[in-house]
Amino acid sequence: MDMNQPIGATPLDGKLDGLVGRPIDRVDGRLKVTGRAPYAYETRDLKNPAYGFIVEAAIAKGRIRSLDTGAAKRAPGVLLVMTHETVPEQGEKKEQVWPQLQGPEIRFHGQPIAFVVAESFEQARAAAALVRADYDAQTPDASLRAAQATAHEPKAAQTPPDSKLGDFEGAFAAAPVTLDVEYTTPVQIHAQMEPHATIASWETGPDGDRLVLYTANQMLNRGQSSLAQVLKLKPENVRLVSHYIGGGFGSKLQPQPEATLAALASKTLKRPVKVALTRQQEFHVATHRTDTIQRIRLGADETGRLTAIAHESWSATALGDAFFETSANVTRSLYAGANRLTRHRLANLNVPIASAMRAPGEAVGQLAFECAMDELAERLKIDPIALRIRNEPEQDPEKQVPYSTRQLVACMEEGAKRFGWDKRAAAGTARDGRWRVGLGMSAAARLNPLMPSQASVRLNPDGTLTVRMAMTDIGTGTYTILAQIAGEMMGLPVERIRVEIGDTAYPKAAGSGGSFGAASAGSALYVACDNLRQALLRSAGMNPDGAVFSEGRALSGNRSETLASLAGAEGIEATGEIKPGAMKEKFSQYSYGAHFAEVGVDADTGEIRLRRMLGVFTGGRILNLKTARSQAIGGMTFGIGAALMEAAETDTRFGSFVNHDLAEYHVPVHADVPAIDAVFLPELDDKANPLKSKGLGELGICGAGAALANAVHNATGLRIRDYPLTLDKVLGGWAEQEGRAQRRT
């Protein structure tokens, strides 16, 4: 099915108490709470693996003068020390998957320079420490600020880097009320709990070489194609298996160096090789979210109607890479305004590779833009929600097409009511003991894409159903919602659905990323089930008009057959495919929401504590209320981290992240997360996909941190434009305020 027209009535629409949407427990939950779900490093399917350990470059720019591997090679248990001098031949880079150990040149701190393989983990780690590198080191360029003036216009990704509508400069100059502010966001780290890990087995056979990788990867078919190019194999001879994945958040969208190195070592040793990145290596060897500098200019009339909107963003990535943070993309769609400008610039630096992290673009873009809106509201003395309502567009202002659905105003109004927004006091005035207290809000918006996906379903002779696709579950609940979709389409309970995903041996699927997973994989499954229904009715000679599948039976007219009887002795299989189509161009598709946060700021120490938080969201049809709420809360908590604590600090002298572990790169912990809740307003989006659902995985983070930052302003009267908002910046701001007050008296 190509998504070329709105979806009419579907079997999912009929039942109010249907399986889809119900907050059932995760179908893979028992395996996870008992520790029996095998993640990549834990598979026992590949026998007798050797253990690998990566040696990283200790400089960010220069050349390896000499690499002494003698002691490492002599160390007990060592099987292989692979360097740029011994690595097998590789193909060209594809997307962000680079061939490894390509020469003595060092482009970033942490670049792998050797791969040590031994009989045991302890032996490999000890031998890796014996590899001695001498460098001709140069001073790295690792500061985005220093490179800002010379940053270049990047190549268009899915979207062009720049956009323009009307005459921004003229309208901004003429506007009676203007705002021109700069926000900065730091490098952030995915910090998924399962480090990148791979067990690779390279097998040489009569019909060519084959490679199997059990690997932590979000998008298996994409990884298959890029690894095939880099390793010079046919894609169909590369199999990726990823049954359980310990979080991704974008870090596992593409294979990371450990996968390539394990494959190459296995090729050399003719034996499976397993390797996991250490937590410290995660920061440099794997990808991160770039820091950004963002300039926002808003022009409005006295009533708050925006006449000029500009959002510019600078970001950085490694040399030779094209990834840029699309911070301003969402600004193209979110609010009305006749004169507009967005611009992205990129600096290629001696820093590790930047890539997508949960809601690339929106997550940091809205940290800046939604605070700028708060600043404008304050300047105009208008309620921030009222300002946003005043600029509610009738259609997408730049794409100039209707929204498929848009309930931003409803989300803000419902949230305001539930949260007690009317109790918000003037900035810097509310107090609770030693705490200054503030409320803040933000809008949330996240693009809703659909990606090509295929699925197969097989009705077995015993009346059970097997679902197969190369989809992944990174904690999002894919196993569960697929079982629910198949169950409702076929009239079977989830106990009779077997969901087999996480293997490129199955039909190609979108994978997990970009908030497209559930919609894309779920829609392919919907189509496959629909085809299976038709095939079953046809083979039984039953009239498809008005046919119903319920309680393990197909019913049509006065006929009623059990699915087991229709399956026959062999079972019956059907496939389905979804592709994006004209609906993508004819409508602007986003998920929306509104965040509300209450913070306390210690009046003496400047410590910021979140007190409570609420998100109100719309995401089309909710496929499982329990897992959807969990994802939304998870996204909101990423926003707490972004607002209050997360920053990988670049030492620009060495191009390294100083705080490269979980003790010093702070993610929110239990004590940082008080009562927070997420609710969903009813919605169906018939332009999005046959499920009428929208993506939820990233919506929760969009704007969440801005709601906290706006609450901090409301509590303190300070506007901190450099994330994260830490107590030193609060104290500094207060000291400045006092200085100003003293100078006035």
């Binding site: 520790g35 002599r74 709990m193 912990v669």
Partner: protein, 198 residues
């Protein structure tokens, strides 16, 4: 003492090596015999002395429920119970636990009947990716025993009274267990629910 067994083991594992034998100057790995009782079952092992308890479980005993998230005691994913107390199994060497009784996530359920904490995590959706989950559950089990034993925490108001199982107490005491999916509110709900049943 353990070095005889050690050499034998290492020798066996070195057969088929592709590189030259180590020189006399290179240090030899040491191994030691260690007996651990894990989930009620006795295991006699000979391990490289550098092997952590976590790697002993995961790489030598096929008990991969305990997870390696950081290998430095910073995330809590490897939490197990040793003689009833919760510890980070990545921060302790297996050889230090001669005779100890270790309980891992695989040892909590009784047959098909989930431990109340496991059932509560499932019901309250106290996880997403599941990678921190065994550590969260083992940590919660240890934490409930600590409260039961009258141990106060930083947020306990009255040090003369046994702490009650409030949300604040749970959050404080569970903050060594990171969950990047951020199932925190659901984990707290699950622990409260199970804690009142235990």
């Amino acid at each position: 003492m353990g070095s005889c067994a050690a050499l034998a083991t290492v020798g066996a594992s070195l057969r088929g090596r592709a590189v030259a034998a180590p020189s006399a100057a290179d240090p030899q790995p040491q191994t030691m015999p260690v007996t651990l009782t894990i989930n009620g079952r006795r295991h006699d092992l000979t391990l490289d002395t550098r092997t952590t308890l976590l790697d002993a479980l995961r790489e030598h005993l096929d008990l991969t429920g305990s997870k390696k998230g950081c290998d430095h005691g910073q995330c809590g994913a490897c939490t197990v119970l040793v003689n009833g107390r919760r510890i980070n199994s990545c921060l302790t060497l297996a050889a230090m636990h001669e005779g100890d009784a270790v309980t891992t996530i695989e040892g909590l359920a009784e047959g098909d009947t989930l431990h109340p904490l496991q059932a509560a995590f499932l019901h309250h959706d106290g996880f997403q990716c599941g990678y921190c989950t065994p550590g969260q559950i083992c940590s919660a089990a240890g934490m409930l025993s600590e409260i039961e034993a009258g141990w106060p925490s930083d947020v306990t108001d009255d040090l003369t009274q046994k702490a009650s199982l409030t949300e604040d107490e749970i959050r404080e005491r569970m903050s060594g267990n990171l969950c990047r999916c951020s199932a925190y509110p659901n984990i707290v709900a699950a622990i409260r629910d199970a804690g009142t049943k235990l």
